[in-house]
Symmetry: C2
Subunit: 213 residues, 2 copies
C-alpha cells in the first residue's frame, strides 16, 4: 500500500516520482493541542495535512490568539513560507489529533514542480489560500462585530448546537461578551430565536442578511 499515492496532490505522480518523494518524506502523527509550527519559525519542511483538524492563528502583542482559519484534509499547509523562503506567518495547532506528511523541501528539486499536474494542484492550493485570506480580510477589516455574527448565523446556524458560544466567539475574533450581547440584541429585534437546545431559527432573513451585505 502506498500512502503517498492516496494524497490527491500526488495521485497523478509517476511511480518513479513517488519513489523520489518517499525518499525525502515521512508521516508523523500529532495529538490535539500539539503545534505543527510556530509563527516566526523558518520552515524547511513542506507539510501536507492528511488527517485531523489544524487551526491557524496569529498572536497579538497581548498574547491573544487571533483566529485565521481551520484546515481539514487534504491540505497543503504553510507552503508560502517554503516557496518564498520566509518565516511562517502564523502558528498551526492541532484542534483534533491528526497526521501530516512531512517533505524535506530543500531536497525537493524544483523540476518536481515542472510536472503540470503538480503545478495545477499547487495552483489550486494557492488559489484556495488567496480566497481564504481574502475572506479573512473582508471579515476582519470591513465587517463590524454585529455583521460578522449575523453572517455566521446565516452561514452556520447549526453550529450553535455543537459548539460552545465561547468557541464561536474565538472563531469570530470577538469577545464572548460581545457575542452574547449581539445575540440578545438580534433576539430582541425578532431576527432570530434560540431555544434551550441552542437551535437557532432565523425569523427575518432579509433583515439579518442586510446587516452584512
Amino acid at each position: 500500500m502506498n500512502r503517498i499515492k492516496e494524497i490527491p496532490l500526488f495521485s497523478k505522480l509517476s511511480d518513479k516520482n513517488v519513489k523520489r518523494l518517499e525518499a525525502i518524506s515521512y508521516f508523523k502523527k500529532y495529538n490535539t493541542d500539539e503545534i505543527l509550527f510556530y509563527e516566526g519559525e523558518k520552515p524547511g519542511i513542506l507539510h501536507v495535512l492528511i488527517d485531523g483538524v489544524l487551526k491557524l492563528y496569529k498572536t497579538n502583542a497581548k498574547g491573544q490568539e487571533i483566529y485565521i482559519h481551520q484546515f481539514v484534509p487534504p491540505a497543503l499547509v504553510g507552503e508560502l513560507a517554503n516557496f518564498e523562503n520566509m518565516k511562517f506567518p502564523a502558528t498551526a495547532k492541532f484542534v483534533i489529533k491528526g497526521e501530516v506528511l512531512k517533505i524535506d523541501f530543500t531536497k525537493l528539486e524544483k523540476d518536481f514542480f515542472k510536472n503540470p499536474e503538480i503545478c495545477m494542484e499547487i495552483i489550486k492550493s494557492l488559489t484556495k489560500k488567496v480566497k481564504i485570506l481574502s475572506n479573512v480580510i473582508h471579515q476582519e477589516m470591513i465587517l463590524t462585530s454585529e455583521a460578522k455574527i449575523a453572517k455566521f448565523i446565516v452561514e452556520h446556524p447549526n453550529l450553535f448546537k455543537t459548539v460552545k458560544n465561547i468557541q464561536i466567539a474565538a472563531i469570530l475574533n470577538v469577545s464572548p461578551e460581545t457575542l452574547s450581547r449581539t445575540l440578545t440584541k438580534l433576539k430582541k429585534e425578532k431576527y432570530i430565536t434560540i431555544d434551550k437546545e441552542y437551535n437557532v431559527t432565523i425569523l427575518n432573513k432579509v433583515a439579518i442578511t442586510a446587516l452584512y451585505k
Copy 2:
C-alpha cells in the same frame, strides 16, 4: 513588434500560442482615477497591468476606502475572481494612468495553463498575492496604529519626503490625526526627528523596532 511577448508572464510562449492569445485579447489605456473593476463585479476578463499604478481597496459600510495594496507592472490582477468564478473582492483604481492587457477569460482554454512555464508564472503571481494578503492581515489585525506607523517609518523613512502625510495615513488605514499624533509622540520620546524637508531620522532604532516586533 509584438507587445504580448514583452510581458514576462507570456515571454516564453510559442508563436502559435501568442497568436491564439492575441485573438482573444486587447490593450486598453486608463487615466488616473479610472476604475478597472469594482468590488462585487463579476469578471470574465483577465487583466494584466502593463503600465501605471493600480490601487486595490475595499469599501466599508460607511463608504470609506480601505487600502489593500498598490500594483506596479507587470502584474496579474484579479485572477482569483476568474479562476474561482467569484466576484471581485476589491475595487481597482488607477492612481497613475496606465495600460492593461485584457484577455477574454472564457475563451482562454484551460490547456493554456497546462504549459509549465505559464503555470510557474501563475504560481509566482499567486504566491506574491498570498504574501501580500498575509502582510495585510498582519498589519491590520495584529498591529496597533502606533505599531503600523513605527513599521512604516523603519521600512520607508524616505517616503515622508515625497508623499503627503494624508496619503501615508490612507495607505496605513489610519486617520491623518492619528498619524500626526503618533509622529509627535515618537518625536517627544526621541525615537525620531523630522526636519523641515520631511527628512525622517531614526534616533533609536531598537526602541522603534520594538514597537512592532
